[in-house]
Amino acid sequence: MSLTQQIENTVQNTFDPEVLTLENESDQHAGPAPESHFKLTLVSAEFNGQSRVKRHQAVYKALASLMPQFHALALHTYTPEEWTQRGQAPDSPPCQGGH
C-alpha cells in the first residue's frame, strides 16, 4: 500500500470525516522523494469543542507510526460548521530546500 493510502486509511478510520482531502504536494518541493510533503484537509464532527492545538495533536497521534516516513504535513482541521462557513483550505508554502 502506498504511503498516501496508508495515511488516508488511518485518518478515515480514526476521525470518520465528512471531508478528507489528502494532497501530495511533494512535487512543489526540493528533493527527489515522491511522497514527502502532504496537505491534509479534514472536516469531522469529532473536532467539535476542541481547540486547534488539540485537533492537530489528535491527528499527529493517529499518524505517529507513519510520520517518520514523510517530511511535512500541512494540516487543516475544521468542524462541519466551520467548513460550511469557510469552504476551502489555504495553500501550502513552497519548500526552500531546508530539512
Partner: protein, 115 residues
Amino acid sequence: MSDQEQEILARIDEQVKNNPVVLYMKGTPQMPTCGFSSRTAEALVNTGEKFAFVNILADPLIMEHLPKYQEWPTFPQLYIDGELQGGCDITLEMAESGELKKMMAEANAKQQETA
C-alpha cells in the same frame, strides 16, 4: 528518560516560560530555511510585535527533543505566554483573524508589568 533529555526539556521549558512569545523554527526570520518556518516568522514579523526565536538547526538537541515537549512532532512551533499555539497552519489562521497580534501584544504587555 535520559539525563540529557531531561536537561534539554528543562531548557526548552525555561525558554517557553521566560519569553512572552517564542518561535522554534528552521533558520532565522531573516534567513528561514523551510517554507513553513518562513511563512510563520513572516506572520509574526507582520504583527509588529516583539518575539523571540530559536533556530533549531543551530541546536540539534533541541530539534531532537522538542517534539516530546508538547507531543507536537513538527516544526515550526509557536508558544505565546507559555502555551503551545501550534505550527504554521494555525499561526496563519490566527494572523488572518487578527488574534495573533492581539495575543502577542497581551503577552508582551504582561511581561512588562511583571518586569
